[in-house]
Amino acid sequence: MFSANVARKAVLSVCRASLRPAVSTVIARGYRGDAPEPAVIEIPLPPWQDRTGESLDIKRKRLLYESRKRGMLENCILLSLFAKQYLNTMSELQLKQYDRLINEPSNDWDIYYWATEAKPTPDVYQGEVMDMLKEFAKNKDMEQRLDAPNLEYLDKSN
């Protein structure tokens, strides 16, 4: 069934996550009400990798795109406002933390629940940036948060 495309696939494959999970899936059945729901979906995805060789400027630009383009509206609004406030002044370490926070979790809702403290933040994501995000989500200044901001704040000619 597989044609001689195998060699070509090796050349053409540019899949960022190139590790293949080599485990079979074990499905844990959760019962409504009684046993706890399985907290983790069994199929492992390729692990997230930090990008190397990226200058800080490029990293900021990439993280801007990745903050604005999320899976659901709540995160689009929250993270693009957060990026407007903090992204351009983050240190290298903070940028790395933020990169991991918004790119590694596979369920966008989780990031939302951690930021709003509906669920506890896993240890690997705890840190300065997570604290900043939680603080930001509280909206102590009660600013109107009806939509993601426009990009013009980045226009240097303004």
Binding site: M1, S3, N5, R8, K9, V11, L12, S13, V14, C15, A17, R20, P21, T25, I27, A28, R29, G30, Y31, R32, G33, D34, P38, I41, E42, I43, P44, L45, P46, D57, I58, K61, R62, L64, Y65, R68, K69, R70, G71, M72, L73, E74, C76, I77, L78, S80, N103, S106, N107, D108, W109, Y112, Y113, A118, A137, N150, L151, L154, D155, K156
Partner: protein, 662 residues
């Protein structure tokens, strides 16, 4: 000139494609160079302003654009069948808008009570207000149980009953015994993260079959030649290179275009890219005027409160504390079809029984439900209500308003997922092109979609595209030749936008479009308001010629991407509003105050005896096909008949049209 440029650009790198002829674009006087040579691995990342767009050619058996539920299912199905498949997506797969889906998947498994897929078929046909194609609906509802079981076998952890079978909850518009047996419980879910679970499962599976993912590549256009689709051209955001994905089969699964409206529940990524690509290729889009307004979007931000709340017992109340849905839909009440609920809410507001200081919305009450039930089955609701509405759901009701949520229309396909056009009264397949998911219009949702049918639509038609491709192609087939400068116009457009220096900013034009659509093409539509909207949209479209962007780079240029998305949104918006203005009837989600009734080939409110059947030109039970001239924004409309027969009349009798009440 061309030869000099070519000579200076041929580098000693591996050329993936056999063509090596550079082409110089003559249309712009900015000396745009469009060359083809291989560039792999050691790409230099540079943000320098350059007029050079290095192009990389790839060859695959199939390319899927979009990595949401439908795209992943198609990519996985194709890879499993042995096809060398590429999946081009502007987002990481698990960040597609499918992840927002919290409702579930409808399937007549019969775990909660006796059920039959033919009842689901009836519900869907009725829900579509008889604009859905019954062959496609037959296909979807019959395949539904098998599709859910297949997902379960892939490892998707559905919520279960005490006996260990898949738990199914109630959802709007679902009934038993052809509407006579009461509420059906056929929505299967994974707590409130069905969408995420679906993506995670399918993405994981597809990787085991060697699908090649091109993540954060923005698809610009289809590569069409002689009416056949030969692939896709895309921009790699990471390094600004252009990629042409040549393939005999292209599947479009790019989702909806909610962002044409000011208030919508969609993420900012729902920009109708696939619909626009098809429009620019000269092909029609179908039924774009049918935009679903979800009854319960949070007033203000627009964030969605899932229908599952009402499925779990939540109710809508007006300023008098009355459960008003009992008046509008005595049987289904708050779980009537979404368009019925949206219209009821709008009528309540217009008649002065709205809540809030401006009396311009209504309340969704959940605090009468036990807190454990809310926590277990609807956990996300509490957070969203608190953050965006400042409300504690265990004590107060949530302010809600009908908000744009889903696009029933899209790229017209047959029930196998093949894109079609309509010429001389016949449906004709466009070779090499397929569409599925919200971007496709098979049409299973017709004039109105039932809740929890969308995730089902994704998996069934994603799989259908893969099956159809596998049926008529073999892996490793030689590709037909492609012109060396195919895709040049797309790159010229990209270049033009990148250096655009007009007088109106992208964000201003976008806001103009959104506000126009919101005021002129909302839940209730009237002739003169729509006409005014069409004229306004025409001038907003033309203002694109004078657009101003500020980021001149090519690497991770969000301004550029959002402007390309705006161009795509604009094409969707003009087709939506012009189609709405032309359709002089009310059907499903398209409600006109000046034409309150459905206009079918017979008057179904009276007995059919003695009635003369109207020809297609004199009634509205037909699909709209819209074309746009991208240069001027002028929309042309044509129509095609609805498919009224099911796939197999003995297996499943088609449902003749009737009056739709709940």
């Amino acid at each position: 000139m061309a030869a000099v440029c070519a000579a200076s650009r041929v580098l000693g790198r591996k050329i993936v494609s056999s063509t090596a002829l550079p082409a110089v674009c003559q249309t712009s006087n900015r000396k745009l160079h469009f060359s083809i040579y291989g560039k792999r691995g050691d790409a230099k990342v540079s943000d320098a302003i350059s007029t050079q767009y290095p192009v990389v050619d790839h060859e695959f058996d199939a390319v899927v654009v979009g990595a949401g539920g439908a795209g992943l299912r198609a990519a996985f199905g194709l890879s499993e069948a042995g096809f060398n498949t590429a999946c081009v997506t502007k987002l990481f797969p698990t960040r597609s808008h499918t992840v927002a889906a919290q409702g579930g998947i409808n399937a007549a498994l019969g775990n909660m009570e006796e059920d039959d897929w033919r009842w689901h078929f009836y519900d869907t046909v009725k829900g579509s207000d008889w604009l859905g194609d019954q062959d496609a609906i037959h296909y979807m509802t019959e395949q539904a149980p098998a599709a859910v079981v297949e997902l379960e076998n892939f490892g998707m952890p559905f919520s279960r009953t005490e006996e260990g079978r898949i738990y199914q909850r109630a959802f709007g518009g679902q009934s038993l015994k052809f509407g006579k047996g009461g509420q059906a419980h056929r929505c299967c879910c994974v707590a409130d993260r069905t969408g995420h679970s679906l993506l995670h499962t399918l993405y994981g599976r597809s990787l085991r079959y060697d699908t090649s993912y091109f993540v954060e590549y923005f698809a610009l256009d289809l590569l069409m030649e002689d009416g056949e689709c030969k692939g896709v051209i895309a921009l790699c955001m990471e390094d600004g290179s252009i990629h042409r994905f040549r393939a005999k089969n292209t599947v479009i699964a790019t989702g909806g275009y909610g962002r044409t409206f000011f208030s919508c529940t969609s993420a900012h990524t729902s920009t109708g890219d696939g619909n626009a690509m098809v429009t620019r290729a000269g092909l029609p889009c179908q039924d774009l005027e049918f935009v679903q307004f979800h009854p319960t979007g949070i007033y203000g931000a627009g964030c969605l409160i899932t229908e599952g709340c009402r499925g779990e017992g939540g109710i809508l109340i007006n300023s008098e504390g009355e459960r008003f849905m009992e008046r509008y839909a005595p049987n289904a009440k708050d779980l009537a079809s979404r368009d019925v609920v949206s219209r009821s809410m709008t009528i309540e507001i217009r008649e002065g029984r709205g809540v809030g200081p401006d009396k311009d919305h209504v309340y969704l009450q959940l605090h009468h439900l036990p807190p454990q039930q809310l926590a277990a089955h609807l956990p996300g609701i509490s957070e969203t209500a608190m953050i965006f509405a400042g409300v504690d759901v265990t004590k107060e009701p949530i302010p809600v308003l009908p908000t744009v949520h889903y696009n029933m229309g899209g790229i017209p396909t047959n029930y196998k997922g093949q894109v079609i056009t309509h010429k001389d009264g016949e449906d004709m397949v466009v070779p090499g092109l397929y569409a599925c998911g919200e971007a496709g219009c098979a049409s299973v949702h017709g004039a109105n979609r039932l809740g929890a049918n969308s995730l089902l639509d994704l998996v069934v038609f994603g799989r259908a595209c893969a099956l159809t491709i596998a049926e008529i192609n073999t892996p490793g087939e030689k590709l037909s030749p492609l012109k060396p400068n195919a895709g040049e116009a797309s790159v010229a457009n990209l270049d033009k936008i990148r250096f655009a220096d007009g007088s109106t900013r992208t964000s201003e034009i976008r806001l103009n479009m959104q506000k126009t659509m919101q005021s002129h093409a909302a839940v209730f539509r009237t002739g003169d308001v729509l006409k005014e909207g069409c004229d306004k949209m025409d001038s907003v479209y033309k203002s694109l010629d004078d657009i101003k962007t500020f980021d001149r780079g090519i690497v991770w240029n969000t301004d550029l991407v959002e402007t390309l998305e705006l161009q795509n949104l604009m094409l969707n918006a003009v087709q939506t509003i012009v189609g709405a203005e032309a359709r002089k009837e009310s059907r499903g989600a398209h409600a006109r105050e000046d034409f309150k009734d459905r206009v079918d080939e017979y008057d179904y409110t009276k007995p059919l005896q003695g009635q003369v059947k109207k020809p297609l030109e004199q009634h509205w039970r037909k699909h709209t096909l819209s074309y746009v001239d991208p240069k001027t924004g002028k929309v042309t409309l044509e129509y095609r008949p609805v498919i009224d027969n099911s796939l197999n009349a003995e297996d499943c009798a088609a449902i003749p049209p009737a009056i739709r009440s709940y």
